[in-house]
């Protein structure tokens, strides 16, 4: 059974691109562009991994991460942050459940699936 990835990206075309990249590696992917619907989708879809940007509509990405850390069932959900010039290091984001930080200004198409696989191990 394929693993499910929730992509949360405010730029819809970028989110769609991430979705295409992950589907090619046979992940089951659901996508949203804002933090409010992301919370609903986490409840409904039970993703195994979250791939997200930090600039989201609705609430900020950090707000969403903080929210996820507040609940036992979502606190351990692995999160991969994709961004450019995020201004935060992985060490700073780890307390929020972030396991990987991908720089979208340098990442290659296969990097995303590799990152998802690495956090599922």
């Amino acid at each position: 059974m394929s693993k499910k990835v929730l992509v949360i990206e405010s730029e819809p075309w970028l989110g769609e691109h991430f979705e295409d990249l992950l589907k090619r590696h046979e992940f089951d992917v659901v996508t949203t562009s804002n933090a409010y619907s992301a919370v609903d989708m986490i409840d409904e879809e039970h993703p195994d991994v979250i791939v997200m940007g930090l600039m989201l509509s609705g609430a900020s990405g950090l707000g969403l991460l903080h929210e996820l850390q507040s609940y036992v069932d979502t606190a351990k959900l692995p999160v991969i942050v994709c961004g450019s010039a995020v201004g935060l290091s992985l060490e700073e984001l780890q307390p929020y459940g972030v396991r990987r930080l991908l720089d979208t200004s340098t990442m290659r198409p296969d990097d995303l699936a590799a990152a998802v696989r690495s956090v599922l191990v």
């Binding site: 804002n34 979208t104 200004s105």
Partner: protein
């Protein structure tokens, strides 16, 4: 914003930072789309779709750079004249409609009649409104098109761009509503893709034309607006 000199000194680095931040998003997208285009397994229609998206994304980035150049050149370019807000808004919609359509969204002018002419530099005001429209790109749908609204308030004309973001849950909104300064000057709603450039440059350009900008938060979106002085031209007729 402080005094004029202090505001200027504080404003320029902020503008540069905002410009860098704002250009980053379309450039990242362009890079990712170009990497996707390099995939040999794409069909002709997928290539066409990606190419169109790259073109529209590049045009969006170019609008940001144009806004920056207007910002720096505006003092010598300023040419105030009576402007018909309705036709100006129609031009803005004409410029942005292809980008909105490609995202599955819509943008439209809310029809109004008997709106007096306003005083502005036509091209500068158009750039300000296009900037607001660009910022609203992801805050609309075909059901709720982003709307350019025009209304007269006393001696000024308000031209706004109303967008529809995700609605804040009603209980949270009721708690926040009393505390939010609902008619404050931007920056107020820092959003993804929104610019800092749009807002910083828009404020400066608008103030140079004798107007003001502001934002009204709604439970399900926002209206970014400019207030421009009414032209006395019609009263002479």
């Amino acid at each position: 914003m402080g005094g004029a000199d202090g505001g200027q000194q504080a404003g320029e680095p902020a503008l540069v930072a905002a410009a860098a931040g704002e250009l980053n998003a379309p450039l990242v997208l362009l890079r990712q789309l170009s990497l996707a285009l390099a995939d040999q397994g794409l069909s002709a229609s997928e290539r066409q779709r990606l190419t169109k998206r790259m073109t529209l994304t590049a045009e969006r980035a170019l609008r940001i750079t144009r806004q920056l150049s207007f910002h720096s050149d505006a003092p010598r370019l300023l040419a105030l004249e009576p402007v018909n807000a309705v036709t100006l808004c129609q031009e803005v919609v004409h410029e942005l409609a292809p980008l909105f359509k490609a995202h599955g969204h819509a943008i439209a002018v809310q029809p109004r009649s008997k709106i007096p002419l306003l005083i502005a530099d036509r091209e500068l005001l158009r750039r300000v409104l296009v900037g607001f429209g660009d910022n609203a790109l992801h805050y609309g749908s075909d059901k709720h098109p982003v709307r350019l609204t025009i209304a007269q308030h006393d001696n000024h004309v308000r031209v706004g761009v109303r967008d529809y973001g995700p609605a804040v849950p009603i209980d949270i909104w009721q708690r926040l509503e009393g505390r939010i300064q609902r008619r404050s000057v931007v920056p107020l709603a820092r959003r993804p893709q929104t610019s800092g450039v749009g807002l910083i440059a828009a404020r400066k350009l608008t103030e140079m034309m004798g107007g003001t900008i502001g934002v009204i938060r709604h439970r399900d979106g926002a209206t970014f607006y400019v207030d421009m002085r009414v032209s006395g031209q019609m009263s002479l007729l």
